[in-house]
């Protein structure tokens, strides 16, 4: 049986445990040997994207120590998965780091590309709109990008279409950035908030009840705006939808 190391981003561990639990249960349901190494922290992306990649050795060393033993590493965040894939480095074991980085998968692509999942026992009778996180889309190529002239495909849509009762609604701007951007969200607060507001409006106008995404960080940002405006639209991580077992009217927490 293949062993899967579960990498949960730091902010999900601290603030969105339900999305992490859903990820774990979803993977366990596929008869995989899933292990969550307890000494994990963060991928180091907040430091690197702020220009301090030279301070990420500690995060890198921890990641290598925690995950080297697994066949695959799965992470329910496209952004963190992409960061590891592109930037995992090691002063004295770079070959191992590179090999490990190539075994890291974002949850959706793990399900569609490695497991090649064909059906899901899930039900979510709601109107749902998909937010593409830029790193999942333009970094990991989870779907066709609006800028490119290339055939249409969407790995997250393929999965959401396997869910009973779920109705996917269309957006005016299919893949514009929500403006979270890591530390951008506070250092460029005005533009970040405006981008988020515009993105959220597009989802709300589409009639969506739930905004879903393979990145909880975008959802955290959009949730903050929805709540400030007392909107009825909610956010939900894609793992929570894919793991919702025929339970109507579930009230997931964030």
């Amino acid at each position: 049986m293949m062993t899967v190391g579960l990498f949960i981003p730091c902010y999900m561990d601290q603030l969105y445990p339900n999305a992490a639990i859903a990820t774990l249960e979803l993977l366990e349901g596929l008869s995989l040997d899933v292990v969550y190494p307890l000494h994990q922290t963060c991928c180091g992306q907040p430091l690197a994207n702020s220009g301090f990649s030279h301070l990420t050795q500690g995060c890198n060393a921890l990641f290598i120590e925690n995950f080297s033993r697994f066949d695959y590493v799965v992470c329910p965040s496209g952004s963190c998965a992409l960061h590891i894939k592109e930037h995992l480095s090691s002063l004295n074991q770079q070959e191992d780091a590179t090999a490990l980085a190539s075994r890291v998968y974002e949850l959706v692509e793990f399900l569609t590309d490695v497991i090649k999942i064909q059906a899901l026992d899930a039900s979510f009778p709601h109107k749902v709109s998909l937010h593409h996180s830029c790193h999942s889309l333009r970094g990991l190529y989870l779907a066709q990008m609006s800028e490119l002239s290339s055939p249409t495909f969407s790995k997250p849509n393929d999965l959401l279409n396997m869910v009973d009762g779920l109705e996917l609604v269309k957006l005016e701007r299919s893949d514009e950035c929500c403006g979270f951007g890591g530390t951008f969200c506070v250092f460029e607060e005005a533009v970040s908030a405006k981008m988020g507001k515009d993105r959220v409006d597009d989802h709300v106008v589409s009639g969506s009840e739930y905004i879903t995404s393979s990145d909880m960080s975008c959802l955290m940002h959009m949730e903050g705006i929805l709540k400030r405006n007392h909107s009825a639209t909610k956010v939900i991580h894609i793992a929570e939808i894919l793991n919702s077992k025929s339970a109507p009217n579930i009230e997931p927490k964030g």
Binding site: Q14, A48, G51, T56, G58, C59, C134, G181, A190, M195
Partner: protein
């Protein structure tokens, strides 16, 4: 003021931000339609990228070839190491010909060099003939976008300017009528100016010719009626052969404005009888950029503006927030090359969403260069001390699982018990609620439900 502050000011007028965003998004959508109308669009981009890589790898050779062919055609070639030399050369040419008034079509390079102000100080009056640039000249402003310089101005505001300077009726804001007024005004300028300056979109190494693209025909009007035609170009404007125009002319307008091609693609191959034709080839920091392995690809840029039109940050912060002639994503990777300290904020004025890289017709890895500039700027000490300390603290915590767990616990406890105080501590809360902090982390849940249960 840095980008964040200027963008914050811009965002005080939300309807205007929406208008600016939608104007540019409309151009982005036109671009998408045009891109999809060309079979093998992505191949075309790849070819353009390869041609430009070849140019940059052999820049010296191509520049010398261009110079020798241009000279054979009767064109006078000048070399300018920086903006100062560029301006002085042009001043000297005008002085030698006793010319005190010049008409100029759109040239971002002359904006970069501050030519208009330089010449004005020396008694030479320059009229910009590109409609957008003329509007800004009347308003005493600088372009906010390299292709649509006055994109930030509403037609009513232009009507006011034209009423004041060109005598159109008060309250007139019909674009057709305003354009007609500008046209009559510029016609008089074209007929009376003895010198005309144009930019250069493409300079062909094998022939010594150059091509200028406009939508208004204003470069032609100025150049053809002038006794002295001066063309300013950056050293990166070269393409090896004439046949390569077929690649770039198909990409340029489709990417920039969503047109199949610019209305005018004017080929200049030498002065007509009795005319002087000069080309000023400018470095102004470009060779320094060429020497930076991580950033030299930025010199592939053909100035189409597509990255600005697609950039969700540019659309919501406006061109002026970048404080450079070339704004937006490409400007943010070009500017730090000229002055790292002054423009240290620009590579951070991005979410690294990557849309710029996808629309770039010459496939510049713009968002990856933004990331790389951040690393350079932090190492060179151009990031605020407070941010630097914050990052060092974060690195210490995130490198130690026990510190991380304790910090997380404290943070959640604080968020749960004092959400209002927590809100006051962070700019996050200006427009957003903070997330609700759960009692238990995922790690805590996992220990309870998996580790302990399984023994």
């Amino acid at each position: 003021m840095d980008h964040a502050s200027l963008a914050s000011t811009f965002n005080k007028d939300e309807p205007r931000v929406d208008w600016h965003d939608e104007s540019l998004w409309w151009v982005r959508q036109k671009r998408d339609l045009q891109a999809r109308s060309v079979a093998d669009w992505e191949v075309l981009r790849e070819v353009a990228s390869a041609i430009k890589n070849n140019v940059l790898a052999n820049l010296g050779t191509y520049l010398q070839a261009f110079e020798s062919h241009a000279i054979k055609r009767g064109i006078v070639v000048h070399w300018a190491a920086d903006a100062g030399e560029h301006n002085a050369i042009i001043h000297r040419i005008l002085e030698e010909n006793r010319i005190t008034a010049m008409v100029k079509s759109k040239s971002m390079l002359t904006e970069e060099c501050g030519l208009n102000a330089y010449l004005a100080d020396r008694g030479i009056h320059v009229v910009d003939s590109d409609l957008g640039e003329r509007i800004l000249q009347l308003a005493d402003e600088r372009p906010s976008h390299i292709v649509m310089p006055a994109i930030h101005k509403k037609k009513e505001e232009i009507g006011e300017l034209f009423h004041e300077f060109l005598g159109t009726p008060k309250g007139e804001s019909d674009p057709q009528r305003l354009t007609e007024a500008a046209r009559l005004h510029l016609r008089e300028v074209f007929l009376t100016r003895k010198a005309a300056l144009t930019g250069v979109n493409f300079a062909i190494a094998e022939t010594g010719e150059f091509v200028v693209c406009t939508n208004e025909g204003n470069a032609d009007m100025g150049a053809h009626l002038s006794d002295v035609h001066i063309a300013s170009m950056g050293i990166e404007k070269l393409i090896p052969q004439r046949e390569h125009l077929g690649v770039f002319l198909r990409l340029l307008a489709r990417s920039g404005t969503g047109q199949p091609i610019t209305t005018y693609s004017s080929h200049f191959s030498g002065p007509r009888q009795g005319q002087q034709m000069h080309i000023v080839i400018v470095d102004n920091g470009r060779s320094t950029q060429l020497g930076r392995a991580d950033f030299k690809a930025s010199l592939k840029c053909i100035r189409c503006g597509a990255c600005m039109n697609t950039c969700p940050v540019y659309r919501r912060s406006g061109g002026y927030s970048y404080r450079t002639t070339v704004a937006g994503p490409i400007g943010s990777i070009l500017a730090p090359n000229l002055d790292m300290r002054d423009y240290a904020d620009l590579p951070f004025a991005s979410t690294l969403c990557g849309s710029c890289t996808n629309v770039c017709p010459v496939k510049i890895d713009i968002h990856e260069q933004l990331y790389k500039w951040r690393q350079v700027l932090a190492k060179e000490g151009h990031v605020a001390h407070s941010k630097s300390l914050l990052m060092k603290g974060a690195a210490a915590v995130l490198s130690r699982p026990s510190w991380y767990q304790v910090s997380g616990k404290l943070l959640r406890w604080f968020l749960r018990h004092f959400p209002k105080i927590a809100s006051k501590f962070t700019k996050w809360s200006d427009h957003r609620e903070l997330p609700e902090a759960p009692k238990q982390t995922f790690a805590g849940w996992y220990k309870q439900n998996r580790v302990e249960r399984n023994g």
